[in-house]
Symmetry: C2
Subunit: 144 residues, 2 copies
DNA sequence: AAAGCATTGCAATCTTATGGCATTTAGTAC
DNA sequence: GTACTAAATGCCATAAGATTGCAATGCTTT
């Protein structure tokens, strides 16, 4: 595991700027994916909105982070495993989207193989479960 | 199978207006899901943008259509199976999103059961495969 | 036919996303 | 260390997407 932002940038031939480092730091803070609006709220004072968009786009293109869309069409970002590359994302684990708190978790469960109909070729498969996460379930249990 | 828009509306206690019927007709035209922008382009002359938003929202709430987000965060709509209700959507089939033409197919493949980690309760599971659909594969084969 | 309520259309507003361009900054060569 | 080049950033304007309030219209019931 090399969570050092500077290293990650070097490995992907990206210039090392303080804005890029900050974005990586924020995303790496939590195993839970962070949404674009959250990032904007946290970094809005330091980094321009437009710059944030551009940084996130390059990170996704380079395979540094992967993007998960929630039900509202909001982008959420999480660090990729080291297996990801510019050509191909390998974030083939199941995502869990809590409908109570909105958080998106990357579960340690791999996406099951799906048999495609004739003529269809799948490059990646994405599975997202919706429900209540452990924290929210615990809160519900207390209040019940 | 009751694809009669008037019946569908009655069954869900929705008033029968020409705008609602038109929207249902358009969505039912194809087994492939239709995107919000496409609907807007097709119905823009007859129906106001805002009305379209509201109709689609009520349809989704009532379990008449289900909404699938593509990678760009654009909403796509397809008819629900008759098993869907206001309380719970049962669109638990695999979706296929063609990265060439952008179309979203509802495949006749059910979503595999996923074992959730302790504390997490899943209400619905969503699986989307990304790749090239039969039509686009055929076109590629010809030009090769 | 009239009343009451839901639905629609329009205008205004807000949020989110994108493109252009001058300025600044990181990396490289000297 | 200094100078140079290419890339990245910030700000501006603009576009696209979504939401709200309200007046007008259209259903439905009596």
């Amino acid at each position: 595991m090399k969570l050092d932002p500077v290293n990650i940038l070097k490995e992907h031939d990206l210039k090392h700027t303080k804005q890029r480092v900050r974005v990586l730091e924020e995303i790496a803070l939590d195993t839970v994916a962070i949404s674009q609006p959250e990032l904007e709220k946290k970094l809005g004072k330091e980094i321009d909105r437009v710059t944030l968009y551009r940084i996130l786009n390059t990170y996704e293109e380079k395979g540094i982070v992967h993007r998960i869309m929630d039900l509202n069409g909001t982008a959420n970002y999480a660090l990729c495993s080291s297996a990801c590359s510019e050509d191909h994302h390998h974030d083939e684990h199941v995502h869990f989207n809590c409908t109570t708190c909105g958080k998106i978790y990357c579960l340690e469960v791999t996406v099951p193989k799906i048999k495609m109909p004739n003529g269809f070729t799948a490059k990646t498969v994405n599975t997202t479960a919706y429900g209540t996460c452990e924290k929210c379930n615990a809160l519900i249990a207390i209040s019940a």
